[in-house]
């Protein structure tokens, strides 16, 4: 069970993540994008999802990652990600509800390069009961 006290709280990610050109190239290659001067619009999920895994599976929150299904996703991109960006990533648990035995959490990821907010994204994650 997810700890209901975690709702409304923001959890910092561990350390920072530096985006490399080879990561952007690999992501772009999968979708057939040849211009890799900036990252494709969904690239930041690579950072957010791994941060979610390390943050949300902590015992004080209690998400069972093995039962997770991705329900929906939204990105707000303030400027495109480029190689050399150094991101800190926080996860904010916005809502938690239970439906048909599943726990459904809405979590927000804010990617900052220094003081600059570059991408905010929202994920609805369903932990199957």
């Amino acid at each position: 069970m997810i700890n209901p006290d975690s709702v409304g709280r923001t959890f910092p990610g561990a350390g920072s993540v530096t985006v490399s050109q080879s990561e952007i190239d690999a992501f772009a290659a999968v979708i057939g994008e040849t211009n890799t001067s900036v990252a494709p619009p969904t690239f930041s999920i690579r950072i957010s999802l791994s941060q979610y895994e390390s943050i949300l599976t902590q015992p004080e929150i209690g998400v069972d990652w093995t039962r997770l299904v991705h329900g929906d996703q939204k990105f707000e991109i303030f400027r495109p990600i480029v190689a050399g960006d150094v991101f800190t990533c926080s996860a904010t648990i916005e809502t938690l509800r239970v439906a048909a035995g599943n726990e459904i959490i809405s979590v927000r990821s804010d990617l900052h390069n220094g003081a600059e907010l570059v991408v905010t994204s929202w994920s609805t994650l369903v932990v199957r009961g």
Partner: protein
């Protein structure tokens, strides 16, 4: 937008041309590596069946990334996408040895200066796989 030299204006209701992407197991493996999402339901058929899925399924985020490619192609590049959202309403099922389609179309729903909102439809094998898929681009 200004209509220059007979170029078609972007107007509300305008339908964008359809594009078909193909997804196979090799693409799932490549996306797993590129995204860091190594969940075995996207690569291992035995595992996928064991958790009640009909077969290996695509990462929802791969489906969304391809729909994103569709949007960026029309918008003139990745740098022009400001918002992008979708619900994963049905899985894209990817049997071994097959290439399954992801067919994407979009309609212009709002034009405000150079900002354009799109409603996107993505289907695979005739089944709608993304719901409420929308993008805001600057064009």
């Amino acid at each position: 937008m200004v209509n220059i030299g007979g170029a078609r204006m972007t107007e509300v209701g305008m339908a964008l041309p359809e594009k078909v992407f193909y997804i196979d197991r090799a693409l799932l493996k490549a996306y797993a590596g590129a995204s860091g999402d190594e969940n075995p339901i996207h690569q291992n058929e035995e595992f996928a069946l064991s958790v009640g899925l009909p077969n290996v399924i695509s990462h929802g985020m791969l489906t969304m990334a391809l729909a994103g490619k569709y949007v960026t192609e029309w918008a003139g590049g990745s740098a022009n996408v400001r918002e992008f959202s979708a619900r994963f309403i049905k899985p894209v099922i990817v049997p071994a040895g097959e290439k399954v389609d992801l067919t994407v179309v979009a309609t212009v729903t709002e034009v405000d200066g150079n900002t354009v909102k799109l409603d996107i439809t993505a289907t695979s094998a005739g089944v709608k796989v993304l719901g409420m898929a929308k993008a805001v681009v600057v064009k």
